[in-house]
């Protein structure tokens, strides 16, 4: 009888300890699920950020390509008499004035390189709203507040 009681007691103790282990395991699993959920959420946020960055870079690259097209357009501009602008012809006829313009442009080009490298815009550049105030070489970069008219 005593043996039976002892065995019963042992069995109950064993069940209690098993139950404790299962409770702990359950808590661990719940923790693991929460961690996995956090990982999934982080991955979703990463995907979103990556998509945003890619979109922004693609848009900016398209704008830079447009900038190059504008440079091309400047040299092939059609004048009032329907002729293509010929800088060579202009330089032959007005060497001094073309020299002056190109020297100014060269300074502007140098400034464009500085801005491209990350040089902050000056107040003058930020406030430029007239053609005479803008950097004609890289208006998109240098004069964000300039609206063409």
């Amino acid at each position: 009888m005593l043996m039976g009681a002892g065995g019963g007691l042992w069995y109950v103790q064993h069940l209690k300890s098993e139950n404790e282990i299962l409770t702990l395991n359950n808590a661990k699993l719940e923790g693991a699920v929460a961690e996995q959920q956090a990982v999934i959420e982080q991955q979703l946020r990463d995907i979103e950020t990556k998509t945003d960055i890619n979109k922004q870079l693609t848009e900016n690259n398209a704008k830079l390509t447009a900038d190059l097209n504008l440079a091309n357009e400047k040299f092939n501009k059609i004048n009032a008499s329907g002729e293509r602008r010929d800088i060579g012809n202009l330089a032959v006829n007005k060497p001094k004035s073309i020299e002056r313009i190109e020297r100014k442009r060269e300074q502007q080009r140098a400034r464009c390189f500085e801005i491209a490298q990350g040089s902050p815009l000056t107040e003058e550049e930020l406030n430029a709203t007239k053609k005479s105030q803008i950097n004609a070489e890289c208006t998109n970069l240098a004069n964000p507040n300039y609206v063409p008219y």
Binding site: N60, D67, D86, G88, E99, E106, N140
Partner: protein, 138 residues
């Protein structure tokens, strides 16, 4: 004598029977890498160069002026067509710098958001818009 031998053996069995094997717990802790946090190079200021337009008409005048200013009378030149190409190449190089900077900043923003936060970006949405020069007479 026999009991003295059996009893310890039984106790040993009893104790070992009650003992349960503990589960191994493996802890994995992620160690974050130190942010590289490299600074971009300082802005390089370009030297100012003077352009000279030389035509068949003004060549003598140009060389005479150069001699006057103690400049060697020699010109490293481009034709008008090549000057156009040089100008466009400049735009291409500038665009490449802008693109590379934007990529570096995007990487920094993605992998080191706290370090990148608040730093000036060359390209911000809405700040860099293409403009038309169709009406620009300059």
């Amino acid at each position: 004598m026999q009991n003295a031998l059996i009893l310890p053996i039984l106790i040993t069995f009893l104790i070992s029977g009650c003992a349960s094997t503990k589960q191994l717990e493996i802890f994995t802790k992620e160690v974050e890498r130190m942010p590289l946090d490299l600074e971009l190079p300082p802005v390089e200021t370009l030297e100012q160069v003077n352009l000279i337009i030389v035509t068949s008409e003004n060549q003598e005048e140009v060389f005479a002026k150069m001699k006057e200013q103690n400049i060697d009378p020699v010109i490293f030149g481009y034709s008008d067509e090549d000057w156009e190409l040089v100008t466009k190449n400049n735009v291409r190089m500038r665009n490449t710098i802008v693109k590379l900077r934007a990529i570096i900043e995007a990487y920094k923003e993605y992998y080191e958001p706290e370090e990148a936060e608040g730093k000036n970006s060359i390209i911000k949405s809405g700040e860099f818009e293409p403009k038309s020069f169709k009406n620009d007479e300059d």
